[in-house]
């Protein structure tokens, strides 16, 4: 079976600084991978490179997503192809109501796939259902996107978008940062409901805590821009106990 995502020898730099140094990673459908590692290991860089953020320059390697060259696509084309990044720091867009943003995203993707656009009532119905499961107040949807939202509200909003857009590969970048334990559970529940044999996930986190709620199949340690160790879910517990110091030594 073809892997959902196959990253081979990925090198990337930001402002001339090398961050990823030959990263290899294979994610199959149905798998949840956790990527852990010390600060500065390249965790967020990996997520931005996969999403196509300007300024993140790939200097070597490739990422094949569902058989296509992910790195050759523009960010919107990647989203249409089924790639989703849940941002560590979701951006605030004053003047764009959350609901309008959701409508633009859903319908842009449908249009690009040659599907009929969703009518406003139909979209609203779907959004309300998802919002309910994520403990999101629907009044929030009328407010400008993420403006004045708490850290928890922003992350729940990211989860809402993810569930609404039904991507085939979800990358969650430090979804636990800025979340209290109740919000963490709500968001994790939302993510877990998306787990399916057709979908893969990469959960990027610094701490093991999130992995109590989103239990991974495979855990990787990222250090100095490479995967330096891969194991089962117990690896996360081990890391929690021993810390990242030994891997930083490896990198150095």
């Amino acid at each position: 079976m073809m892997p959902l995502l196959e990253i081979r020898n990925l090198h990337a730099e930001v402002d001339g600084r090398k961050i990823l140094n030959g990263l290899d990673l294979t994610v199959n459908k149905g798998e949840v991978h956790a990527i852990m590692g010390p600060n500065g290991a390249g965790k967020s860089t990996l997520s931005y490179v996969l999403a196509g953020k300007p300024g993140y320059e790939v200097t070597a390697g490739e990422a094949i997503f569902n058989g296509i060259d992910l790195l050759g696509l523009s960010p919107d084309e990647r989203a249409v192809a089924g790639f989703f990044l849940a941002f560590q720091y979701p951006l605030e867009i004053p003047g764009v109501a959350t609901m309008n943003f959701l409508r633009s995203a859903v319908n842009a993707q449908r249009k690009a796939r040659g599907e009929q656009e969703l009518s406003s009532p139909e979209l609203l119905k779907r959004v309300r259902e998802i919002a309910k499961g994520l403990d999101i107040n629907v009044d929030m949807l009328k407010r400008p996107l993420n403006v004045g939202f708490s850290g928890g509200e922003k992350k729940r909003n990211e989860a809402l978008q993810m569930v609404l857009l039904q991507p085939s590969l979800c990358v969650l970048d430090e979804t636990d940062s800025g979340l209290d334990i109740d919000a963490l559970k709500v968001v994790a529940n939302g993510v877990n409901r998306l787990r399916s044999v057709e979908r893969g996930m990469i959960v990027i986190t610094h701490y093991q805590r999130l992995l109590d709620y989103i239990v991974p199949d495979i855990v990787h340690v990222l250090s100095a821009g490479r995967i330096v160790r891969t194991g089962g879910k117990d690896l996360a517990l081990e890391l929690e106990a021993t810390g990242y110091a030994q891997y930083q030594d490896v990198a150095a």
Partner: protein
């Protein structure tokens, strides 16, 4: 010829002097008005067309932007009036009472003057001048601001609209002053309107300026607005002139006590546009808000110049002007908040933001505070920058294509100013105008 005329040097200035000599006998008004016109032309002639060293026109050098002075427009014929009927589609959904000026002439036959609310007066400025209307005559040059282009307006004014809203009358229907240029030859139009809103009255006033012609033309238009105590006025000005137009618009507003005055201006048309507003708060406890949006492309130049004069205490004023600039366009914002010694407890804030979509566009901002009272809160700010690439990336990461992401962000940028419009139907018209502009950009 007057002795000062020797200050006039450029072709345009000399043509203006000549045009005034030729036209003055035929312009409407009695001997007093004629004397005011001559005095006004002399005030203009002392300085001529403003240029770089003329501070309030520093960034809009009319001496170089206005190479010629076109002859006064001819009165509109039947064909011109027919063309004018298609005007102002932008506000089609607003069921306003339309009062129409074509090529600088008031057209009662195109205006909706039926079933006027009791006491409401709407008439032509030419008639008011010809019949020595005392209210109009007393306002003709009494503005306290010495601006050469306003002086030129006083000298040449041919027509316009006079409106009186009686005290305690709330007009539920907006009043829409429609100014259309259809001239089939290069022409200049000088219009003056006077709108007096009585004590405790309420009015939504739309003022639209557009051109249905490919010929170059010059508009010098002025609106004097008197907002008496406790009156509530919302004034919306839309400049969607043809690409060949030079538009100079002056707003002189005096706002009384416990009143409310809101202004919104939209500029998306015209080659060179100067919107200048001189606002005097003459009574205490009044709130004013002035917002505006400039949508510019190509080589368009739009200059917004505001002088907010707090002459009475306990008033609040807020200004928010936004410009979106594409191509090689230029926007200018000059705003001065002036707080007189009696205007204690003034709360005044002014903000201008420019969004530059092109490396070749230019935005100039010059906010100023001039404060003579000691117990006030005043602030101003100015920003300019490009579209936020991180926000664009966030939208694209959700599947929104680049062009649509930009459109959403630009809409959001101007939306903050448009949201200040009180009436939903006018807000929708301003949003539609923005979408139309964005549509052309793509």
């Amino acid at each position: 010829m007057n002795a000062e005329i020797h200050h006039l040097k450029t072709n345009a200035e000399l043509a203006l002097a000549e045009a005034f000599e030729v036209a003055k006998a035929a312009l409407p008004g009695d001997a007093t008005v004629a004397a005011e016109r001559t005095a006004a032309f002399e005030r203009f002639a002392l300085v001529g067309l403003p240029h770089r060293r003329f501070e309030s026109w520093k960034y809009t050098d009319l001496r170089s932007l206005m190479r010629e002075a076109y002859p006064l427009a001819l009165p509109p014929d039947a064909a011109a009036k027919q063309r004018a009927k298609t005007a102002s589609r932008l506000f089609a959904a607003v069921a306003g009472r339309r009062v129409v000026v074509v090529d600088g002439a008031f057209c009662s036959d195109l205006s909706d003057l039926s079933d006027l609310e009791p006491g409401l007066f709407i008439g032509s400025m030419a008639d008011a001048l010809a019949t020595s209307d005392s209210l109009v005559a007393s306002h003709l040059s009494k503005v306290g601001v010495n601006d050469p282009l306003f002086a030129l307006n006083t000298a040449f004014v041919g027509d316009g609209i006079v409106v009186r809203v009686p005290p305690h009358t709330i007009l539920s229907r907006p009043l829409h002053l429609v100014f259309v240029t259809t001239s089939d030859r290069p022409a200049a139009m000088y219009t003056r309107s006077l709108v007096v809103v009585g004590q405790g009255a309420g009015l939504t006033l739309i003022e639209s300026h557009e051109g249905l012609t490919e010929n170059p033309y010059q508009i010098n238009t002025a609106l004097q607005l008197v907002v008496e105590d406790e009156a509530q006025v919302e004034h919306v000005k839309a400049v969607t002139e043809a690409a060949t137009a030079l538009h100079v618009g002056s707003l002189h507003a005096a706002v009384g006590a416990r009143a409310k005055f809101d202004h919104f201006s939209l500029v998306s048309g015209g080659n060179v546009v100067r919107n200048q507003a001189f606002l005097r708060l003459v009574g205490a406890d009044t709130a004013v808000g002035m917002c505006g949006v400039n949508l510019l492309s190509g080589r368009q130049h739009a200059d917004t110049c505001l002088i907010i004069d707090h002459a009475a205490g306990c008033c609040e004023s807020r200004e928010l002007f936004k410009s979106v600039l594409d191509g090689q366009s230029r926007s200018v914002f000059q705003g001065r908040i002036s707080v007189g010694p009696q205007a204690q407890k003034t709360d005044a804030r002014m903000m201008t933001r420019a969004l530059l979509l092109s490396d070749e566009a230019e935005a100039y901002s010059k906010p100023e505070l001039e404060i003579f009272a000691d117990d006030v809160q005043c602030g101003h700010g100015a920003t300019s920058g490009a579209l936020d690439q991180d926000l664009k990336f966030y939208l694209m990461a959700r599947g929104v294509p680049a062009a649509e992401a930009e459109t959403l962000l630009i809409q959001a940028f101007v939306g903050e100013a448009i949201d200040a419009i009180g009436r939903e139907d006018i807000r929708a018209a301003a949003t539609d105008a923005t979408l139309a502009w964005l549509g052309q950009r793509r």
